[in-house]
Symmetry: none
Amino acid sequence: MTELLEAALQVFSSKGYRNTRLEEVAEAAGVTKGTIYHYFENKEALLIGVIEHYQTLAFGRVEEVLREVGLSVSARIRLLVRKAFVDADRTRRPMVSLLLRGVAHEVPHAHQRWLREGPVRLWTVIAQLVAEGQKRGEFRLDADGEVGARLLVSGLLVQVMWQQHADDIPELAVDEDRLIDSSVELFLAGLRPVGVVMAEK
Amino acid sequence: MTELLEAALQVFSSKGYRNTRLEEVAEAAGVTKGTIYHYFENKEALLIGVIEHYQTLAFGRVEEVLREVGLSVSARIRLLVRKAFVDADRTRRPMVSLLLRGVAHEVPHAHQRWLREGPVRLWTVIAQLVAEGQKRGEFRLDADGEVGARLLVSGLLVQVMWQQHADDIPELAVDEDRLIDSSVELFLAGLRPVGVVMAEK
Amino acid sequence: MTELLEAALQVFSSKGYRNTRLEEVAEAAGVTKGTIYHYFENKEALLIGVIEHYQTLAFGRVEEVLREVGLSVSARIRLLVRKAFVDADRTRRPMVSLLLRGVAHEVPHAHQRWLREGPVRLWTVIAQLVAEGQKRGEFRLDADGEVGARLLVSGLLVQVMWQQHADDIPELAVDEDRLIDSSVELFLAGLRPVGVVMAEK
Amino acid sequence: MTELLEAALQVFSSKGYRNTRLEEVAEAAGVTKGTIYHYFENKEALLIGVIEHYQTLAFGRVEEVLREVGLSVSARIRLLVRKAFVDADRTRRPMVSLLLRGVAHEVPHAHQRWLREGPVRLWTVIAQLVAEGQKRGEFRLDADGEVGARLLVSGLLVQVMWQQHADDIPELAVDEDRLIDSSVELFLAGLRPVGVVMAEK
DNA sequence: GATGAATGAGGGTTCATTCAT
DNA sequence: GATGAATGAACCCTCATTCAT
């Protein structure tokens, strides 16, 4: 059954949910069409199964970081973003692709849930951290932390997803570590008070 | 025929290409199914028609801004981003949605072309401007301008697209002007040399 | 309107009635689709129109030859076959093709009428002539004149029709005059009394 | 699957390929529309399937007869024609109908192949036999054997096909054995040297 | 559990036919 | 008379789903 989920994830994300025949999923999983119906009620249930199975891997207990007051806010943001995006798992990219495009029109409910529990939640936490940093004097007060957090999260998601097409469009390719690190650093630099050199890192 | 394109854009982007019956497009355009085939060879041609018709509105002659040496680099970046994203046209958001998700698996070629001529091109130009700013001393030399440009463009695209779901997920809603302005300002702030107050704005 | 009939004949016979769009007929006739409906109620009426217009050319007053008692039977048969098949008209071959295959399932009534008034009538008359020849002693009594007449008429029809494919299958090609003349001569030779040299020709 | 081919043969030949809905074939085979697509890629593939399945029955190893030098040429021709046309199989007539009319415009390639491997091949062999007979003195030298062979084969084909319409046009009806036997005898008689009684039969 | 033949609703596509201009 | 945009019934084809083995 894990094979089925794995196969479904790969095929759905690479061809699109509607463009995928159940037979293709079955074949990719090394079984036949009928077998899928032993484990899933129907095609949509399979899709939801995939989402639920892999989504848990995405953003764990993100809010915890809010309480780790020992660290500087910047450090906690770095931590958070790494936790969310640095991930050697080969299911991550397909999942982003699936959630970002494959699912919105097929199972709107699952899509909305993901939005809420995934990106929105992540950037909300980051925005809260920024607010805390502003109180602490770590960040300048006139910066729009929320929009910044949105940009950071959304931008990274799409960039990760687009790596899928790097074979066809070489300009898209970018080293993921650099992508993530540079993104966080620029984000933090944008929040830094003017005229103050941040010694911490 | 413009009615058809308009209708197709709306329906495709709101329900997804594959989930849309030609009959629905026809109905939305106030004609019947058969009429579509007077103007388009088939469903895919209609989709491509939509893309080609509205894409031109997207990013015009973006490169021009590289040559406007009279302005500061920051000013030119602000100009560019506004030109690309500030747009009262009600076709913009559906188009982004269509291109970002509806099209990748249906007409990969059109999708790739859009990527190249749209987002990639835009962030490439921005990255070039950043490089110029670094030479001029306007930006700090150790900033990763390219990643920043990617983040800015990708993030804005997704945020714009997600406004489509703001009715269902209130946390998604954000004022578009604020979104765009804050994004650019944060982006520029992240590039600013440390310890230097930028007088210009 | 004659242009329409002519065009319809050509296109119908070369592509088949069902495979022909009215638009193709119109185009071949140098008019547009709608025009056809000024002259013909519908597609089938056009087909029937074609058949009726050109069929008359086929077999005129074939029975007359029965009464021309001055001539030998052989001479009259030669006459008859030539009258029916020797024809420089470029509408003849398409007509045969149309009637032999294009029409049977489309307008069975017209097809049956053609069969009756065309081939069946022709071989009936020939069979009658053979019978007369047998009475006269011109032909041997034990020959199956009717089957011979059938073979002659049917065989010539198909051979004429198949000339349509002579471009693709060179083995099919045969000179029409030779085809017709040799056929009649062999037919007559087959009827000739054994051991008797026929001086007449 | 054999049921499908059988059903398709019957329906195609009686209504015409283009006039036949796949649903009718399915119904005739006692299955439903979708089932056809388990066995055949599409409608055309079904038609080709029919042709290939039944054509093999048509003319087997016709050339063998050329080498049977023990028999007189006349005997061998009789044998050949019987082998080709005397056939109690109820698939024969529909096949002839299908090949003679239903197929030329639908799958020209299959049609041409049939022409080449069927009628053309048969009359070529017969013509060769005639030539051999002429050398041997069995037939007169001035007879046009090739045209005669064409007439024999083509005429028989059409006559067989037209028996399909004997219900509607009684004059068409003819006993098939008589048709075939008389045809061959007349053909042979036409080739016989003048003034010589052929003792052999 | 697994299979794969069979089903049939759904939807893309064709094209004869109509009709306002 | 001629046009060609619009119509909609017909039909091919796809594929999720079922079920007997």
